[in-house]
């Protein structure tokens, strides 16, 4: 009788194959991320072991990789460029997206809520090269006019563009975090006679703190990784910025602009991949932190 169930017919094979394929799809993300890690580290390895001077790489503001006589691979100006643009973007997008998330989650109802959510998702779908184009053709003359500065491709321009790009994803995640706060909390507070604003400030926001922090961190990660829009709007200039009107150059933009023209295996090529390693580690750390915070929040709530 048992043999009946163990028969190796066609259906059994198909079942096995399907199982295997679906398993492969399931773990494909892990395979991809590991392959990417291995690939990028392998490309950077020769440079890291032979040419890299860690002190110079991290603290020298001189990025001059193609000099014949004295190539210098300092990324400080590029790090400062990425950090200043991302920082300004966060200053702009955190208040906007938190405000938007609070409005959608706590105030908007019915149709307004649905329309807003769809529109915000559409905003997230605009390709980054379009944002870059807006920076180049609309923001540039606007900044020149409004602030009476000679040049509109700078930290301010790239920061605004990047802030607008990061806002939708932050709003969506923050709204999820607010939605996850149980209604019983709000009802309890309301029963105590708290006003709407008191409920949001004293009850909802503190309860959703972890999710909101994660939303901001993912926004920061988006900022660090963004390439095309920053390349087009920042001015692409190796420079330690001292004001929002200085042009800067981002880490990602440097890779994008130079990698295609670099001979494989040259120190310059290795240096660009070492920047890639650095970016990968930074974004990995940011995403991991965000993830741990979200998980920590769940655990906490579970124990309550």
């Amino acid at each position: 009788m048992n043999a009946e169930f163990d028969r190796l017919d066609r259906a059994w094979y198909i079942d096995r194959i399907a199982k295997g394929l679906i398993f492969l799809c399931g773990i494909s993300a892990i395979i991809f991320i590991l392959s990417i890690f291995v690939f990028i580290f392998a490309q950077a390895f020769g440079f890291i072991t032979e040419d890299l001077d860690v002190g110079e790489f991290l603290t020298d503001p001189t990025w001059r990789p193609t000099s014949e006589s004295n190539p210098v691979y300092g990324t400080l100006a590029l790090i400062a460029g990425t950090a200043s643009v991302t920082g300004l973007a966060m200053l702009i997008s955190v208040p906007i997206s938190l405000g938007a998330a609070i409005y959608i989650s706590e105030f908007a109802t019915g149709r307004t809520k649905e329309v807003l959510k769809v529109v915000i998702e559409m905003l997230a779908a605009i390709p980054s090269v379009v944002w870059g184009f807006i920076g180049l053709t609309i923001m540039n003359p606007l900044i020149i006019q409004i602030f009476d500065v000679p040049m509109g491709l700078n930290v301010l321009n790239a920061g605004i563009i990047l802030g607008l790009m990061a806002a939708p994803i932050m709003t969506t995640i923050a709204e999820d975090a607010l939605k996850a706060v149980p209604d019983s909390y709000r009802e309890a507070a309301e029963a105590m006679g708290a006003t709407r604003w008191q409920i949001i400030r004293r009850v909802v926001l503190p309860s959703a703190r972890n999710g909101l922090t994660a939303a901001v961190l993912l926004g920061v990660g988006r900022g660090f990784g963004e390439t095309m829009a920053v390349l087009m709007a920042s001015g692409h200039s190796v420079n330690l910025p001292t004001s929002p009107f200085d042009s800067v150059r981002a880490l990602t933009a440097t890779i994008a602009a130079e990698l295609g023209e670099t001979a494989h295996g040259s120190p310059h090529f290795g240096a660009l991949f070492t920047i890639g390693v650095m970016l990968l580690l930074i974004t990995f750390a940011i995403n991991l932190t965000a993830d741990l915070i979200i998980r920590g929040g769940w655990k906490q709530r579970g124990h309550n």
Binding site: P61, G260, E261
Partner: protein, 292 residues
């Protein structure tokens, strides 16, 4: 049940397709891969179009991206002809030889590298030394007023527009203006194409930039340059040909090994009357005026 008889023909077909993709022999090659210099890309496209019309059996795929891109592609063995607005470096020749490729150099034309400023900029001429003090490391000129040029207040700081550091134009301008040992002052806006430089300078009052003569538009000003002759010379095809304009450079095409077959025919045509005529019409100086 699939058998080897069913699979084998497919495998053979696959192998045949793969070997067609990059034919190595001189005969039977019908696609010429041509890549590189942004300065040359317009004229390279015009050459390819005209040539393909007369020789429908030859397809020429042209792409730009910069001299560095072309040279890298030559080293990596993915192009038949690399366009470059600078000479290949010794290190690049070595890298190519390490991959079994012996690049051969051909001069296909000359280009005057014009210095562009905004059309409202009253500057009348610049010397090579002044350019070096604007663009070079430790250069002391940062404001138009230092050159005696009256600009409105906010446009007084000179906004240096340069190119990405692997561009042939970048390398040539460095050699011609800053000297062999010279380096650029950091903090310039590094554009990713000849046309981008012109576009930006056109829109920015205090800007200065360098780019091929062929990219000039009506909305931008070209500054006459004073070289060793002591005379200000406006960049033009003629002043590039007679050598009076100080920042003119040869434009190169590199082939993998001595050109043969279709590639040789194409290069001969480029250096002939028709090819050089197209070059001149695009705003570059031909190799030899005798052929025209």
């Amino acid at each position: 049940m699939k058998t080897i008889h069913q699979i084998l023909p497919l495998a053979l077909l696959g192998a045949a397709l793969v070997s067609c993709g990059r034919p190595q022999g001189a005969s039977g090659r019908d696609v010429i891969q041509n890549k590189g210099s942004d300065t040359l890309v317009n004229v390279a496209q015009a050459w390819a179009e005209t040539y393909s019309k007369a020789h429908p059996e030859t397809m020429i795929a042209v792409s730009g991206g910069g001299s560095g891109t072309g040279v890298s592609a030559m080293i990596n063995g993915t192009v038949d002809i690399a366009n470059s607005s600078r000479k290949m470096k010794d290190s690049e020749f070595e890298a190519a030889r390490a991959n079994g490729i012996e690049p051969v150099e051909h001069v296909v034309g000359f280009d005057a590298l014009a210095v562009y400023v905004h059309q409202d900029n009253p500057v009348t001429s610049l010397t090579l030394d002044q350019l070096a003090r604007i663009y070079g490391e430790n250069g002391d000129i940062t404001r138009w007023s230092q050159l005696g040029v009256e600009m409105s207040g906010k446009a007084d700081p000179i906004i240096r527009v340069s190119r990405q550091n692997n561009s042939g134009t970048y390398v040539y301008f460095k050699q011609a203006v800053l000297g062999k040992k010279g380096e650029y002052k950091l903090g310039s806006l590094d554009m990713h194409g000849s046309k981008d430089v012109v576009d930006l300078v056109e829109k920015t009052t205090g800007a200065i930039g360098y780019s091929g003569l062929a990219y000039a538009t009506e909305h931008i000003k070209m500054v006459p340059i004073v070289g060793s002759s002591g005379r200000a010379v406006t960049p033009s095809v003629d002043s590039a040909v007679d050598g009076s304009y100080p920042i003119a450079r040869p434009l190169f095409m590199y082939t993998a090994g001595a050109p043969a077959g279709k590639v040789k025919e194409y290069l001969d045509w480029i250096l002939g009357e028709t090819g050089q005529g197209i070059l001149r019409a695009k705003g570059y100086a031909p190799v030899s005026t005798a052929t025209l």
